[in-house]
Subunit: 185 residues, 2 copies
DNA sequence: GAGCGCATGTAAAGGGTTACATGATTCT
DNA sequence: AGAATCATGTAACCCTTTACATGCGCTC
């Protein structure tokens, strides 16, 4: 149930509408915590019901901006400081790795090349984003500093995966005992 | 819907019961793809209905072992080779990083210390597991080699996160423009 | 005035976790 | 005999995604 706190955290920076928040969850935040608009709108309604946020203003096209309340701020801080961290890792690319032995060497090499390319590109994109931050393009307010730290984690994560995929490509050759035996069903 | 293929992949190694598979998903596999027994039993039933696996034997205490079928093997290989990889990353620890600026310096330091400890321990555990594999304690059959590769990814991932947490601890000090202003609500 | 982007929502279905429920076998 | 472990399953709930649905406002 972290989307709730993700929204609360974003609203701690200032008022925003469901639409605004959806944009956030489609860029930087979305890389580590994906969320689509139906869930966001629903959760905002619940947060308002619980008094953690409130409607700040109504704008054109039915726009509804929310503002975090005092209890909302208390709640996000409580969550950050007291709630145990959920370290769950769920990575399809790593699940697949357990079954690499079912692929032909050609398939595996092609796969790992694609994976390495994907992860390198992801790392690179974050790196250029971080560089812009470091150049001061987004100011140096505390939220911006935190985004910089979060991005650093992404850079290191994707970097590690890219290197892993390259390592896996040539390092341990998968040699069936009876060559080809596993490939025929 | 990758649990389906996770089960198929495990059954490609040999027959197993829902209970056996649950154990698998609580150790190595579980680190990258958690799954609980209710989902596993349900999915096994569906896989059997679809003819991708079949009951191999009935044992004591109602034990029901499944075996992968020809079409099951075709399906897992098709998935590995053709189905696009889902790169979704969802990491609560990284979501929290976006909101570090809402924590007091003391809270943040304590938090990062705990995180670093957690990730180091996770990496270390996988490292010793990998060392056992490298000593040949589990043989050198193709599935074992793949497990080794998967574990290597986990080691690098957790290692990167551990280093990140250490880096974040002392690197960029979060200095509010008006000291303390953001901490009071 | 056509098209795009802004803006919000509902409904249905899928995927996963937790709690509940039960019983057999093995080990001490 | 009692405890631990093996073993399977159902029910309720939660979270998330995808598809459907609608309409306003701005720009060309």
């Amino acid at each position: 149930m972290s989307l709730r706190h993700g929204l609360l955290g974003l609203l701690a920076e200032g008022p925003a509408s469901g639409y605004d928040l959806t944009q956030h969850f489609q860029t930087a935040l979305g890389t580590v915590w994906p969320a689509q608009h139906p869930k966001i709108y629903a959760e905002l309604t619940r947060l308002a019901e619980d008094g953690l946020i409130e409607v700040e203003s109504l704008g054109p096209r039915g726009r509804k901006a929310y503002r975090i309340t005092g209890s909302g701020l208390v709640e996000i801080r409580r969550w950050l400081a007291e709630e145990p961290v959920d370290h769950t890792l769920r990575q399809e690319p790593l699940l697949r790795a357990f079954f690499f032995w079912l692929m032909t060497p050609e398939q595996l090499d092609a796969h790992l090349r694609q994976e390495a390319a994907f992860f390198s590109a992801a790392a690179e994109q974050l790196r250029s984003f971080a560089a812009a931050k470091d150049r001061g393009e987004f100011g140096s307010a505390p939220p911006t500093q935190s985004v910089r730290i979060a991005i650093e984690a992404g850079i290191r994560l994707y970097g590690a995966l890219a290197e892993w995929a390259e390592w896996a490509r040539d390092a341990p050759p998968v040699l069936p005992e009876r060559p080809g035996a596993e490939i025929i069903d």
